[in-house]
Symmetry: C2
Subunit: 387 residues, 2 copies
């Protein structure tokens, strides 16, 4: 186990009607609130109305940044920063999934940055010193952004999708009411499950072999996705399925799995380049790329990790390690397929002639991956196989 | 999954030489420190010297409460409170295992209580409003006290051992350097493993059946104890074994496993009554009692939990559920035995004529257990079987 510092500071209010505590949780951070949300589904579901009434009855003043899109844009962040400066915002509340929360985080840091907020993505995480306090109301189980200090933002001009990470970006509190995900459509539910699954894999496939308890916990979360993913698709109002997936989304990327080891993140790197160019749903891109990444990095050196994965997660039997390992990869692809995920990049509108440029953009600042380090040619080959 | 609020606020500095950060971590909380420790082993190992030099070179003023015993006494707590009041202590640092840390916590809360600190154990947790900040340097993987808000203290006059729980008692930081446990003797290492194992079982054996991800994570921690416990006994300086056990001790009782479900704690209740009367090592008492508790509460209603446990933890095969379940109980007892734990209360000096009084004390304030609620007669029968 490598050395680490554990600091998961986000308070989680989990359960039915936890939204009733929103105003109390905001209170310590100030009275002037920026409410960040997406395309208006929270207005249809009534979440917006309950939030507004809670804020009003507690004499909190709020301003709004609606319209945050999936694969959220730096242009939304810029608008948010302007609002924060104009109205002396003291606390930002993101109501939605990862896109909304990531936008809220980047606004929170951008307020204290002299210059354009996109700089933060190019300067590196040490450029972040301070951020406004953030709270979230989660409406989609997927990114884990509700419990970590990560944000991923797209730049529509440069066709880039980049990430920042900092402890000051960790939400002070997150409200996780599984019933708020009852109305998430089937395809988004499925993409969310793949996203959770992929977050676990990116940490499980690690060059640090000495991570026993971390690996067993990782397998626990994968088993939860495998068990409850299909149930949530079949029965969207099954509370237990929604609750288990929601909590698993937070545990998958709050730090727990990554402490004490090096983590990979190659597939996320490639997917971010794909979805920066084509606005593909993140989980869909991951579902297509992951099995091909697995096949590409599978060799005699990585064999044992694949065998461990196949046996413990997919319960593959047999003594021939290579056969067992390959079966694990097949099972992964089969699982994503069973959730209704496409299998190829062409199905989601990616053009073959764009693959090389996507590969270039993936490694624009550095090679990707730690389990196996991938350069441009490696990424290009994975993209071709995924096409 | 039941509703819950997640708030694990302790910062963990995990790894070799993390003790070098001690003074920096104390700094935000004040300059006047109370150092709490045990029987002097930290002086032999050199931990004491490095702490003292770190405190001195950072101009921190410290006072000392040495001599905290296993099954720590309320009399030590009283001494500590006097020192805190005399010297206007601002931060308490516990250097040791659970006994030392629990003493530090109780002092921290007792400083703000008008009256004798034992009152806190009788009045209930709501009597605790405030506590001095606490930091810890862990030297034994066992109780998990380094990452939670629990403290267990014995009253030598009344022969009681009772617990308090409060978020204000959570250490602000804990320094977990696995090399500090290299010198822990075999019997204490083994008792620590049993304690960790038992903490997981007390949450796994839950009346809340809908706790899928929690149960899988619980099994992960049990598998880690089973794998690394024997290694730590054989090779006391095996870093990975010590590291995995240390981190597992914290994860086993920091809240993670218990969130979203009701937990049991009957075996702990009984053991506390035993060790209040006989000063038995906590892990030893748990090793003796746990299999008998299991056999006692095993019936057609609890069968499925036992089957899940046997199959997932002990890899027991077979279709006959009752046979599978019983094999899981046997494996538990065999594992504790393989660690060198005694099997009977008589081996550790408990007298048969005392069993009824121990049973009475166990349920003095309330019946114990939630998986199965146990009254005095139940506890008496479990004690007799364990005798």
């Amino acid at each position: 186990m490598l050395d680490f510092t554990y600091n998961i500071s986000t308070k989680i209010l989990f359960g039915k009607n936890t939204i009733q505590h929103l105003a109390d949780e905001i209170e310590p951070y100030g009275k002037e609130i920026l409410l960040v949300y997406g395309g208006g589904s929270i207005k249809k579901t009534g979440v917006y109305a309950s939030i507004i009434s809670a804020l009003r009855s507690n004499a909190l003043v709020f301003h709004e940044l609606p319209g945050v899109q999936p694969n959220p844009r730096i242009s939304s962040v810029r608008k948010g920063i302007d609002l924060c400066k104009t109205y002396d915002i003291e606390c930002i509340v993101g109501v939605g999934g990862g896109s909304v929360i990531d936008t809220a985080k980047t606004i929170a840091a951008g307020v204290y940055h002299n210059g354009d907020p996109w700089d933060l993505f190019l300067l590196g995480d040490s450029a972040i010193k301070k951020a406004l306090p953030i709270g979230t109301v989660l409406t989609l189980a997927a990114t884990g952004s509700e419990m970590n200090g990560n944000a991923v933002i797209s730049n529509e001009q440069t066709e880039q999708k980049l990430a920042i990470h900092h402890d000051v970006l960790r939400p002070r509190f997150s409200i996780l009411d599984p019933t708020l995900t009852f109305t998430v459509p089937q395809d988004q539910t499925a993409a969310g499950v793949v996203d959770i699954f992929s977050h676990v894999l990116e940490q499980y496939f690690s060059p640090t072999r000495e991570a026993f308890v971390q690996n067993r916990i990782a397998e626990s979360l994968l088993l939860t996705c495998i068990y409850f993913g299909p149930i949530a698709l079949q029965e969207p109002t099954n509370y237990e399925a929604r609750a288990q997936l929601m909590w698993t989304s937070s545990l998958a990327l709050n730090g727990l799995l990554g402490y004490g080891r090096i983590t990979d993140w190659a597939t996320h790197g490639i997917e971010h380049a794909v979805s920066a160019a084509y606005d593909v749903t993140h989980g869909v891109g991951l579902a297509i790329l992951t099995p091909h990444w697995m096949e590409y990095v599978f060799d005699s050196e990585t064999l044992d990790t694949f065998v461990e994965y196949a046996r413990n997660v997919w319960k593959v039997k047999g003594a021939d390690k290579a056969v067992v390992a390959k079966k694990g990869i097949e099972e992964t692809q089969r699982f994503f397929g069973s959730l209704g995920m496409p299998r190829t990049l062409r199905e989601v509108g990616v053009k073959k002639e764009k693959l090389e440029e996507i590969a270039e953009k993936t490694v624009m600042y550095r090679d990707v991956g730690k389990f196996r380090t991938l350069g441009k040619d490696d990424v290009f080959r994975i993209l071709q196989r995924s096409f």
